[in-house]
């Protein structure tokens, strides 16, 4: 050009950076493209629409007597429903939070104190704790006992002793009437 720039060196210089720029952007686009192509395949392994569609269950509570427990299935997992007696409720409410590895009040875990509703899956590695049937061990705290690696849960389903890190999960549920709930 007329301004006398050295055509060779400028061509070389800009050629270098331009090539690097092209490598970089092409490389980045390839990665984005590959990730975009792989994601649908990975995501296909996540829960499918039919699995998600099964995710709510209605339960009639009227046949359950005080002190009785029943187990129902929700999303392929057991859900524990226990109709607690006054003593169990009082015990759960009076437990000092300082005694709990995963502190949570009993009020935060129930809609109505009489009805304790829990996902019956140990928060350690997923076994089903014992304590639903009469005669099964309920552990040191009168709730549930997981035999797999020895976790003890109390009458609010809170972890008290053993390797499980968390309280038994409370599933999302609503009371449809006084005597029936919808889980999920």
């Amino acid at each position: 050009m007329a301004d006398g720039a050295n055509p060779e060196s400028s061509a070389q210089g800009s050629g270098e950076t331009r090539r690097e720029f092209l490598y970089l952007t092409a490389g980045a686009m390839t990665v984005v493209g590959a990730a975009g192509a792989i994601w649908p395949m990975i995501d296909s392994m996540n829960p499918s629409a039919d699995v998600l569609a099964l995710s709510s269950t209605e339960v009639d509570l009227s046949p359950i007597e005080e002190g009785q427990s029943v187990t129902i299935t929700w999303r392929g997992k057991p859900v524990f429903i226990r109709r607690r007696g006054a003593e169990e409720i009082a015990g759960a409410e009076e437990t000092p939070l300082a005694d709990l590895p995963d502190p949570q009040t009993d009020e935060d875990r129930v809609e109505k104190p009489e009805w304790l509703i829990l996902v019956g899956v140990c928060t350690h590695l997923g076994c089903v704790p014992l304590g639903q049937k009469t005669g099964e061990s309920r552990g040191d705290y009168g709730g549930w006992f997981c035999p797999c690696h020895g976790s003890h849960y109390d009458t609010s389903g809170r972890i008290r002793k053993g390797p499980a890190p968390k309280n038994l999960e409370v599933p999302p549920y609503v009371f449809l009437t006084d005597n029936s709930i919808k889980i999920g």
């Binding site: 699995v51 187990t71 999303r75 057991p78 590695l125 076994c127 797999c148 390797p163």
Partner: protein, 403 residues
Amino acid sequence: MSFKTNNKVVQWVEDRLPLISMGHHTLYEYPMPKNLNYLWNFGSLAGFALVTMIVTGIILAMQYTAHVDMAFNSVERIMRDVNNGWLIRYIHMNMASFFFIAVYIHMMRGLYYGSYKAPRELLWQLGVVIFLLMMATAFMGYVLPWGQMSFWGATVITNLFSAIPVVGESIVTWLWGGFSVDNPTLNRFFALHYLLPFIIVAVVVLHIVALHTVTSNNPLGIDMKGPQDSLTFQPYYTIKDLFGLGVFLILFAGFLFWAPNYMGHPDNYIPANPLSTPAHIVPEWYFLPFYAILRAVPDKLGGVLAMFGAIAVLFVLPWLDRSKIRSCKFRPVARVFFWIFLINGLFLGYLGGKPAEGWYVVASQIATAYYFFHFLILLPVILPMIERPRELPSSIHEAVLKS
């Protein structure tokens, strides 16, 4: 390459695809140290086991149904109605155990004779990769019959991933394809159980390429220095490997025909029930030492890390052991600690099969600590300070003549 032929057809193929000369090289003229003992048989035995698993597995897959409502019954049908189905399934079941026996002995051989040391680091690491893939394959295979142990083993092991902070739960849901171990899980485990053995074959090929680049170690742990130190593979080691295979198969037949369920667990003949966990769940015997390590740590994430760490240390072992001497024959202190390590490992296996209560817990904590002490402190720090190795012989040939 010394392969020569007068056959025109063979030569024509050779000029285009040198398969025959490759085979000739690896199975015929390949030089092996002449002082190998029977511990060097277990590599070829593991290879035989892998082929057996693939052949019997493919035949089983023709009769098996990967659906939660049908899997258990389809396996029972294999046992009762399919011609020789019982035999094929029992071979698959028991050879899985024998595969692990062969591989464990193979690995212990490597530990004792320092076969992981330069220049065999990659060879050793490929072996650890094979071991990991085998464990994944066997775990998923055990889920397929959909018995109680299948189901609860799958539940406990997949739940290990929930220990990962933040994303753990999403990963577990993704692994399951649902909110618990269920039909999508069984389906994908079957797909992967079919796939992984072929990946293992590919890694075995790399393992052998690496082996043939660096050649076999031997009980003395010194290099071959010339033709006087070696023997050709054929006929010396082909026949020795075949003889070993005969012995292996006699023992195998003992289990296969007289105690086919000895190494299994009776609860797996109860159909899976997602609402009731068996009182005492245990994995297959070959996982027990690692299961003991998992349970020894009272913290969930800590236990998972310790278990995977137990295998990770094997991966970096070539750099943890700082002695230049390979064979424990010439390492008076390391040799003693090798046996302690082995007994400790067996003890961990024993503990893994016991319930996690009472003294078992304390014992597995001590044994776990010792496992890591061996790799992380004893080998890299203590042994270099206290051990004075014995003098190495100048060559394999000389040592063989003397004995």
